[in-house]
């Protein structure tokens, strides 16, 4: 449906790439580290890591301006109007199910006064200098690009108006663009956008300050609920193309045997039997890279064949001996004990207010609890896959990647090419959830096409490959201690969070959460507690740690929201009333006063933590859910609320626990405040999806290691929630907000309250406190 073309169609409002915004790169405290490929001797790629550990120097830039590539809002880059009256919007952020291709196009079309049926979308290749930041994570595509995309549409509309005015020889003030036509007031003459396309392309681009945006009441698409999806018709007809669907002339299909233990290396292999499998063409070694892992291929042996099945069979026939390296003894069960030890002794203090340790020491009674979240795999339905070829020294890659520029940098470095000799086409992503931020799989395709003299090669990961070679959500052990005052509210609060850092994937030896990681829902608790101490033990990583939807907010939200429920019950108070009392009166808190310097990379003035909004979503969820209503035996309501990615979310889950611990969830009420909703139906979809993914985390998700190897392999032993277990009734309650309110994130913030709301509901239903995720069979002995 969308035609990709390297050349600008004639008559388009588009000129050659003349106006790419200069992008300044400052050390960014963004949670996603920046990989900069730089070629060194021996073809090694050097990595400059920029993370929450880097001290900020110079003027701080916030939001998109603080991200590599920054913001581009030039209409010539993003909009093309064709003589046939269609409009192409180039979307530079990858689509992984969040609906960004639809939502960006809606924003541009609205300001442009384009008619939706005439709008097409084209996916931008990796080119951050041209398009601005493309690294799609952190729930920030719309948060960062709503305003720029509005300016893009509005500026293009103004160019069409200028062109029409010039054509008619009338002042531009006498013309107006509406519904894909420009009208002349006086004469009633009109010209379609198609008729104006050629001339409009020659008009000067208006200065940013001169761009006239619509008033929100003039919006036709923005903020309106509709189920329209730009790729919907292709998806339901099986025509939508994902990375794994790429097919090129003469392409070989590759499947790779990788070291089971991170850091392992090939010692010896025998390809004879593999080569005897019909359809197998060649067996190629992929070099491994010394740790840290970064986004490099893991190395191993690739089997290239005429089709995927032959490659899979060929791989089964390989005989390989590995040298397993330093992680070969890693055992996640033993590691849990190490984490326990780590949270039971003093550690690095990251927030200290009052004298929590003194109060805890003196207290007659302390309430304490430890909560455990295991490693998690993303298991997007489309496993990693990528295709690459080299023609005349130019490498082209087709891949489902969240970070197009990072992928391009990786391939540039791996192949020893210039950036201009690498093109990364971004396909649809069949789910990603953070896994496809690091494109080791695209690196494999690039290395293999090079080894094959440029022949196109598609690498497909099996589900087993995906589960065993993920960048995992970090395991976490959270210890909380509190002393309650006479009213039951805490007067002292100690929280130690022991979790390997994602930084270790980039920097050997990095230990413990960095400021962006403990910045996710741990450091910025907005509760009225006089004595607070937060500590981060330095624990190592033995596997590749990555980002999983909402990241460290999962463990922090689970622990803190469970603990508050425990405190409420210990105080004999209602958990809803207790939590509201703990939050206290509405106030807008500067995150820096909570020792949170990161604030998701956003300005603390523009994005303070607003306890009034947190309070409001909790009250709303509780009211809608009928909090306090009487339920039968074995039934309970659980509440949890979290603030993440600049959005406020509260969930009330109703659970029925049956004999043998059978869980039934008749209803979930979620109240959500992300500021104004640009595409309300997709916001709802993200919340429904976050709820279901959150329930998988709560009930099933667990990756374990023994002898350095992941013990799970496929959906049989890494189960995910299925339709019959899905809540019958998920009610999403959106808090209204005007467009003067800054946007919050949408893709991730719905997930963190789900697991704690479920365990709190289970406690209400059974009196059993679940402190270890997943729930699994912990209630197997429950008798209804």
């Amino acid at each position: 449906m969308t035609q990709s073309s390297a050349t600008t169609p004639p008559g388009a409002v588009s000129r050659p790439c003349d106006a790419a915004a200069e992008s300044e790169q400052l050390p960014s405290p963004a949670r996603r580290k920046v990989l900069k490929g730089a070629l060194a001797a021996a073809g090694l790629v050097l990595c400059l890591r920029q993370s929450g550990r880097v001290a900020l120097a110079g003027a701080q830039k916030y939001g998109a301006a603080g991200e590599p590539g920054g913001v581009v809002d030039n209409p010539l880059v993003f909009v093309a109007i064709h003589p046939d009256n269609t409009v192409t919007v180039t979307v530079h952020r990858p689509e992984m199910g969040q609906g960004i291709r639809t939502s960006f196009a809606l924003v541009v079309a609205d300001e442009l006064e384009a008619e939706w049926p005439q709008v097409r979308v084209e996916q931008a290749p990796a080119d951050q200098a041209r398009y601005g930041n493309q690294d799609t994570d952190g729930s920030r595509s719309m948060r960062h690009f709503f305003e720029p995309m509005r300016r893009v549409g509005a500026a293009a509309r103004m160019m069409l108006e200028s062109a029409a005015a010039a054509h008619w020889g009338v002042p531009v003030s006498e013309v107006v663009a509406e519904r894909q036509k420009v009208w002349h007031h006086g004469s009633g003459r009109k010209l379609s956008y198609g008729e104006l396309a050629v001339q409009a392309a020659r008009e000067p681009v208006p200065e940013a300050a001169a761009v006239r945006l619509k008033r929100p009441e003039q919006f036709r698409y923005i903020g309106k609920s509709s189920s329209r999806l730009i790729d919907g018709a292709d998806i339901v007809a099986g025509r939508a193309l994902y990375g794994i669907d790429t097919r090129l002339e003469g392409m070989l299909y590759a499947v790779v045997a990788r070291p089971a233990v991170l850091g392992g290396k090939l010692a010896h292999y025998d390809a004879q039997a593999a080569l005897a499998v019909p359809g197998v063409v060649k067996v190629v070694e992929i070099p491994s890279h010394p740790l840290p892992a970064l986004s490099y291929p893991l190395g191993g042996v690739a089997v290239l064949a005429r089709n995927t099945w032959a490659a899979i069979k060929g791989r089964e026939a390989l005989k390989i001996r590995w040298e397993e390296g330093p992680n070969r003894h890693f055992d996640s069960q033993r590691f849990e004990t190490e984490l326990q030890q780590a949270v039971r002794r003093p550690a690095k203090v990251v927030r200290d207010q009052g004298d929590a340790m003194g109060v805890l020491r003196e207290a007659g009674r302390r309430i304490e609890a430890e909560y455990y979240l295991p490693f998690l795999a993303h298991a997007s339905m489309e496993p990693p896959a990528a295709t690459a070829r080299i023609v005349d020294g130019h490498c082209e890659v087709w891949a489902p990647v969240q970070d197009p520029q990072g992928t391009r940098d990786l391939v540039t470095g791996l192949l020893g090419l210039k950036e201009s000799d690498v093109t990364v086409h971004v396909t649809l992503l069949g789910g990603a959830f953070g896994r496809k931020s690091l494109a080791d799989f695209a690196g494999e395709a690039a290395v293999l096409t090079k080894a094959m003299g440029g022949t196109p090669v598609k690498v497909t990961w099996t589900r087993e490959d995906d589960i065993r070679h993920d960048y995992y959500q970090a395991v976490a052990l959270e210890r909380l201690e509190a002393v309650a005052g006479p009213d039951g509210l805490p007067v002292a609060w100690l929280h130690r969070s022991a979790s390997p850092t994602e930084d270790a994937t980039f920097e050997a030896g990095a230990e413990g959460e960095d400021s962006s990681e403990y910045g996710m829902g741990m450091i910025n608790i907005p509760f009225r507690i006089p004595n607070v101490r937060l500590e981060i033990p330095g624990v190592p990583a033995y596997t590749r740690i990555g980002w999983f939807r909402s990241v460290y907010n999962i463990a922090h939200g689970f622990a803190i929201q469970s603990f508050i429920d425990e405190l409420a019950h210990a105080a004999g108070r209602d958990p809803l009333e207790y939590q509201l009392a703990l939050i206290g009166p509405p106030r807008r808190i500067d995150p820096r006063t909570l020792s949170d310097e990161w604030n998701y990379g956003e300005s603390p003035q523009r994005y303070p933590l607003d306890t009034g909004r947190l309070h409001a979503v909790i009250e709303r969820a509780a009211r809608e859910a009928g909090w306090g209503r009487s339920l039968g035996k074995g039934r309970g309501l659980g509440l949890a609320a979290t603030y993440s990615f600049m959005s406020y979310a509260a969930a009330v889950i109703e659970v029925q626990v049956g004999a043998g611990g059978k869980i039934d969830i008749p209803r979930v009420d979620i109240a959500f405040d992300c500021g104004p909703q640009v595409n309300p139906d997709r916001v709802r979809a993200q919340l429904e999806g976050s709820c279901i993914m959150g329930l998988t985390v709560a009930r099933y998700g667990e990756i374990t290691f023994r002898d350095g190897r992941v013990q799970q392999s496929n959906f049989n032993d890494f189960p995910v929630l299925r339709l019959p277990e899905s809540p019958r009734d998920i009610r999403i309650h959106m808090q209204p907000a005007g467009f003067e309110v800054p946007l919050g994130g949408v893709g991730e913030p719905g997930l963190p309250p789900i697991a704690p709301a479920l365990v709190n509901a289970i406690f209400a239903a059974t009196g059993r406190r679940i402190r270890r995720l997943p729930l699994g069979t912990q209630l197997a002995d429950w008798r209804a």
């Binding site: 689509e95 992984m96 199910g97 969040q98 189920s227 329209r228 999806l229 790729d231 919907g232 018709a233 998806i235 339901v236 007809a237 099986g238 025509r239 994902y242 794994i244 669907d245 097919r247 299909y253 019909p278 089709n307 995927t308 099945w309 899979i312 298991a379 997007s380 339905m381 489309e382 496993p383 649809l428 069949g430 789910g431 990603a432 959830f433 497909t460 099996t462 589900r463 997709r682 979809a685 993200q686 429904e688 999806g689 976050s690 709820c691 279901i692 993914m693 496929n714 959906f715 049989n716 995910v720 929630l721 299925r722 339709l723 019959p724 899905s726 809540p727 019958r728 009734d729 998920i730």
Partner: protein, 156 residues
């Protein structure tokens, strides 16, 4: 070996070993990439097509076993009224997120409605339990199946 398959009402000759899973023949040899690879073990339903009107998991179905049988893939789902009704309901309710699982979901839903025109929630649970959606579109899938059933009933 040379095989003749009947796919979406067309006869297609293909060269493949009889034990090759139908999924890879469809995707790699015939370019019918609508059926997706999700697990390769019959666990996720992403690869679902119809053989003689019944849903099968092509990742565990040897191509030799379906020779001469009538195969319908997602690319042919719109050829019949049930398929069209399901696709329309999916769009009306904005079911897809990433969309990757949806070909399989739709093929399972179409088979359900063919066998059970007025499915209960329990029927939907049973028919759709084998199709995983990691994006979590289940609530909308359930609603969309009911909607398609209603539309089909009203059209009768």
């Amino acid at each position: 070996m040379a095989l003749t398959l009947r796919i979406n009402e067309r006869s297609i000759a293909v060269e493949a070993a009889a034990d090759t899973p139908l999924l890879w023949v469809l995707r790699d040899e015939l370019g019918l990439t609508g059926a997706k690879f999700g697990c390769g073990m019959g666990l996720c339903g992403a690869c679902t097509v119809h053989v003689e009107g019944q849903p099968v998991r092509t990742c565990v179905t040897p191509v030799g076993a379906v020779e001469g049988k009538s195969i319908t893939t997602i690319e042919g789902a719109g050829h019949d009224p049930i398929g069209r009704a399901v696709q329309a309901a999916w769009l009306a309710l904005g079911v897809p997120q990433c969309g990757y699982c949806q070909a399989g979901q739709i093929m399972s839903a179409v088979a359900l409605l063919r066998n059970t025109p007025e499915p209960t929630d329990g029927d939907i649970d049973a028919a759709m339990a084998g199709n995983i959606c990691r994006c979590g579109t289940y609530p909308r899938i359930r609603t969309a199946i009911h909607r398609a059933a209603r539309e089909l009933r009203e059209a009768r």
